[in-house]
């Protein structure tokens, strides 16, 4: 009888993870991310980083934490400002010491549906992505190891990590996990376009015509071919797919996807960012070369540079004998009118996404 009990105790003990932590924390509260109408399936979250209320709350704190930068002056939220759909209004991002990045800050919208992060898809997992801007000398320029030391020395963070991850001993991995959790909650699905689909609002005729014009052109219907690259209800590039959109000719100043893969053909290819909240995320393109949506439409309509790397949809249009997209001024205005219906005022004012210590 006794030996059975002892054996049982041993077995159970052998299975338990090592607990060298002084304090026991209650299990965090699971959080479910809703899938908005017509959105694709949410990318399965890592089994070792499920969404929890405590994890998201901690991630939000860290997102706005300037201690994570080398000189304590900037946080993730400096270049990803909620009011601008988590961009910064700059052509190219500015890091610690005023250093300029080669590319612009990307919007953080509907990240839970994405599998390619940054302009060149350098990362496919959110839990890995944040290390780059945190440590990059031209961005926040502080090793995660140093960040962990600084956070561990605070009064509040060890406790918050304990609540989120069961241990007050802060790790690099848990910093990244918390940031990823917060980012996954940045869902934008409440634009006027979304509301119109739900019957809560409506689109004006020119906006509806703009939506129609986003599509493919045929011999009978004009179209701007936007949706090849800005696809689905995410209005974002397809998974693991990158495009050259004819901004430049080879050799490309910024190798884009080719810089990751080493494939010459993929030079000058970039991720197609979401068009949701696009009216808030100027200037446009990976290097912020276009200040307005009008300039962007002019580019796609008339100024696409033809190279072997170019996506053929941009110069294979039945719209015009030149086979370029060649939109009229009125068509461009209709598309821009539609793009403005993708602005989600709820998203940019949602208190859950704001700096908890403004």
């Amino acid at each position: 009888m006794f030996s059975l009990a002892a054996a049982t105790a041993l077995l159970v003990a052998a299975c338990k993870p090592d607990k060298d932590v002084e304090q026991a924390f209650p299990a965090p509260t699971p959080l479910t991310l809703a899938r908005p109408q017509d959105f694709p399936a949410i990318v399965p979250m890592p089994a070792d980083n499920p969404l929890t209320e405590e994890g998201v709350a901690l991630g939000r704190m860290l997102f706005y934490e300037k201690k994570l930068s080398g000189d304590g002056t900037i946080s993730c939220g400096s270049c990803h400002q909620q009011s601008k759909a988590f961009t910064d209004g700059r052509a190219r991002a500015i890091g610690v010491g005023g250093q300029q990045h080669a590319r612009g800050s990307m919007a953080l919208i509907n990240m839970a549906w994405e599998q390619d992060f940054t302009w060149d898809g350098a990362h496919t997992k959110l839990e890995q992505q944040a290390r780059t801007p945190l440590e990059n000398p031209v961005e926040m320029h502080q090793s995660l190891a140093t960040s962990v030391t600084k956070l561990q020395a605070t009064n509040n963070y060890p406790k918050l990590f304990g609540r989120a991850f069961g241990s007050s001993r802060i790790t690099e991995e848990n910093v990244l996990k918390a940031l990823a959790q917060f980012e996954r909650t940045l869902v934008s699905s409440n634009s006027r376009y979304d509301k119109a689909k739900r019957g809560e609002s409506y689109l004006l005729p020119n906006e509806l015509q703009g939506k129609q014009l986003m599509g493919h052109a045929t011999t009978f219907v004009r179209g701007a071919e936007c949706q090849h690259c800005h696809d689905t209800e995410l209005f974002s590039g397809p998974t693991h797919t990158f495009f050259n959109n004819g901004l430049d000719l080879p050799p490309f100043t910024d190798p884009g996807r080719g810089g990751i893969t080493g494939v010459a053909f993929e030079r000058g290819m970039f991720k197609a960012p979401t068009l949701r909240n696009i009216a808030l995320t100027d200037p446009y393109m990976h290097d912020g070369r276009f200040k307005t949506l009008e300039e962007v439409l002019d580019q796609y309509s008339e100024h696409v540079q033809i190279s072997p790397n170019l996506d053929p949809q941009l110069v294979n249009s039945p719209n015009d004998p030149s086979k370029k997209i060649m939109l009229t001024a009125a068509e461009k205005q209709k598309i821009i009118a539609f793009l403005h219906t993708l602005t989600d005022s709820t998203f940019i004012t949602d208190p859950r996404f704001s700096d908890p210590n403004p």
Partner: protein, 262 residues
């Protein structure tokens, strides 16, 4: 915690032991397995040459092409046994992309131990799934292979450049369509290679089929296509897409060789 009776305490301990054991064990399946797998590897080629994105090739009609994108969806894999009965893979949808090495290799699992003499699959997506709206996995709408609710899936995408194209030197073929008159799904049964009479799926044998998909056969076949005349399909089902589907169904896929996998 205090136990009021000894039996209750014992029961709890035993339960604990059971949980402990279950959690610890890397449990192997019992030896009652009756299914195995068939592995597929797809190699995209242009005639006798391996397909490399961006490289220059000729069509059978002598036109020059490069390929920038080559994707296709294969579905409803079926394997015919020696007695003529058929085993079909459930939820059988596979997306192959030239740009994604991993996508070109997949295993079909749960294949009953038996001897199979024929392999059949569909290039495209059946109309039921097309009409069911966007799905997940190989059929996720953000895989660059979905037109939308009305038009359904894109079954095959071939894009690239050609000096013969009158559209700024590019071509883009997108084939799909599941409604009459533009039905582009095509079911094919490429023959097992000479000398391979059958595929044995056993506990120790998982055959590996190495298929080649020849880009030249998109342009050639019952409806030879000239890049001078056709640089694109409509985006949505149309007669151009159906012609391409008829072409590639007539011999794009070939089983090049089979490893017995034992």
């Amino acid at each position: 915690m205090s136990f009021r009776t000894l039996p209750a305490a014992l029961a709890t301990l035993l339960l604990g032991a059971a949980i402990g054991l279950t959690a610890c064990e890397d449990d192997d399946q019992p030896s009652t397995v009756t299914t195995g797998k068939i592995n597929f590897e797809f190699e995209n080629v242009v005639g006798s040459q391996a397909l490399v994105i961006g490289d220059a090739y000729s069509t059978l009609a002598g036109e020059q092409i490069t390929v920038s994108k080559f994707n296709y969806i294969l579905s409803n894999f079926q394997f015919t046994k020696t007695d003529g009965t058929v085993w079909a893979e459930p939820e059988s949808y596979h997306l192959v992309k030239q740009s994604d090495t991993n996508s070109r290799k997949f295993a079909i699992e749960g294949v009953p131990f038996d001897t199979y003499t024929k392999v059949t699959f569909t290039i495209g997506v059946d109309s039921a799934r097309n009409m069911a709206g966007a799905q997940t996995g190989a059929l996720a709408p953000n895989n660059d292979m979905y037109w939308g609710w009305v038009s359904g899936y894109i079954f095959l995408k071939l894009e690239g450049t050609s000096p013969q194209s009158t559209s700024n030197g590019v071509y883009s073929y997108h084939v799909g369509g599941f409604r009459k008159p533009y039905v582009s799904m095509r079911t094919v049964s490429p023959a097992l290679p000479t000398g391979v009479a059958s595929l044995q799926v056993t506990a120790s044998q998982s055959p590996e089929l190495h298929l080649k998909a020849d880009v030249q056969r998109v342009f050639a076949g019952p409806h030879p296509v000239s890049l001078r005349q056709m640089s694109g399909t409509g985006h949505g089902a149309d007669s151009s897409g159906v012609k391409l589907a008829i072409n590639y169904a007539a011999g794009m896929f070939r089983i090049d060789h089979v490893h017995n996998g034992d």
